[in-house]
Symmetry: none
Subunit: 247 residues, 2 copies
């Protein structure tokens, strides 16, 4: 297999997976299609998990190299493009893409991509989805949608492998989106300033309002220069005015 | 879902499947993508099999309607196009197609199509493969190929659903970008506030800085609700702080 630029190889992030067996199955599904970088956010039963190995059917390398994180945000801190998998739409206002569309993007855009997969029972929580710029949904039988974790993983891995052969050499020379941690810094800066102005009111709406704010700031995919400019703008805005013409 | 001509809906034939659980998983995989016609050739443990139902996770209709045959030849007797799935090519002299190519054919050719899947351990025997006009192979990691029965089934079912064109990918109900005048209002609001803070300095750089700002705010394609939220945020930021914790 030809060496791909790392930017074009997605990271698969299992968020709070429950069963070790399913982590193993996901590893097996990934490696079948040449993907080996798995990240785990607080696996329920700890890590390593003795049930994972047998289910991986030989894909041990994926499990051995799996990285563990305390939060989803940390797991995608170095990623420029975050996709959240959901089977059903849940009132989200983010662009929705198919595995095929996401794969096409992943193999042609700069900056690393991460695909988030939720826990077996419940799927991703709203706060996890909020981190993502796009929703990845497998188009499925509306009368019977019952994809399990490993199946969602294998479909995404399969689609990615289909698209890696289609990689166009033409590089966009647009800067990639800033790493997720830069974006988080910007969002926290906004929140800090707005808190001081009493923006988050009433308190019961604070979480929802913060999600809205995060959504608005996540969508653009600003690069690190743009994020830096915006940080400068916020710092400016928090300084006392020079005169009274504002507003 | 719109009714498809029956010719374009493949029959999935499990040849001598060993575990009832895998038959159930295959049924579940199929129904996720709208496929319900399963045929079984001499399932090892007889039929019905009590392990199949639980593994089907609700796809009982597929199991209930499954037809049983004594030979693979009988199972595909009414089919015009037979595909034999194998992971590896095995010195066969038949055309080899990917799931995508097979699906494209299935949805466009006349006469029913069948896809044969072999027993879990051994795969299809030479005599079964001999019945097929083409070999269907999932392109896979040459250094780790470990697809199980249900995974092969789900990849074929998924590809078929992609090609039938009737399953629409989930529609984006994302709002369109706000009209340009709303965006201009936002940009002017930013400029006004920033001018009052002495942000545009030195004066010779003002035009370039404003262009940068416009670029950053134009890229996102925010909708009118998002623009309105941002206007509210700017108004908040221009109010005096309630305390000194800002910054």
């Amino acid at each position: 297999m030809i060496e791909l630029p790392k930017d074009h190889i997605p990271v698969f992030v299992l968020v709070r997976p429950q069963l070790g067996e399913n982590i193993g199955k996901a590893a097996r599904a990934m490696l079948n299609f040449g993907l080996a970088e798995m990240r785990l956010v607080v696996p329920r039963d700890g890590w390593p998990n003795p049930s994972a190995g047998p289910a991986a059917s030989g894909a041990d390398i994926v499990l051995e190299n799996a990285q563990i994180f305390e939060t989803t945000a940390e797991a995608v801190a170095d990623c420029a493009h975050v996709y959240a998998t959901t089977v059903r739409k849940r009132g989200v206002t983010k662009p929705v893409v198919t595995p095929a569309q996401a794969s096409q993007e992943i193999v042609s855009q700069q900056g690393r991509s991460a695909i988030l997969f939720g826990p077996e029972r419940s799927g991703l929580e709203t706060d996890d989805v909020a981190l993502a710029r796009k929703i990845l949904t497998v188009p499925i039988n509306p009368e019977f949608s019952s994809l399990n974790l490993a199946q969602a993983v294998i479909l995404c891995a399969y689609e990615w492998s289909r698209h890696q052969h289609l990689v166009q050499p033409t590089q966009e020379d647009v800067l990639p989106p800033a790493p997720q941690e830069d974006l988080d810094g910007l969002i926290r800066h906004f929140e800090r300033l707005l808190e001081s102005k009493g923006y988050f009111f009433p308190e019961t709406r604070t979480d929802a309002t913060k999600r809205t704010l995060r959504g608005i700031l996540t969508r653009p995919g600003w690069n690190h220069l743009e994020v830096r400019t915006l940080r400068g703008i916020l710092s400016s805005l928090s300084r006392p005015s020079r005169d009274r013409t504002e507003g």
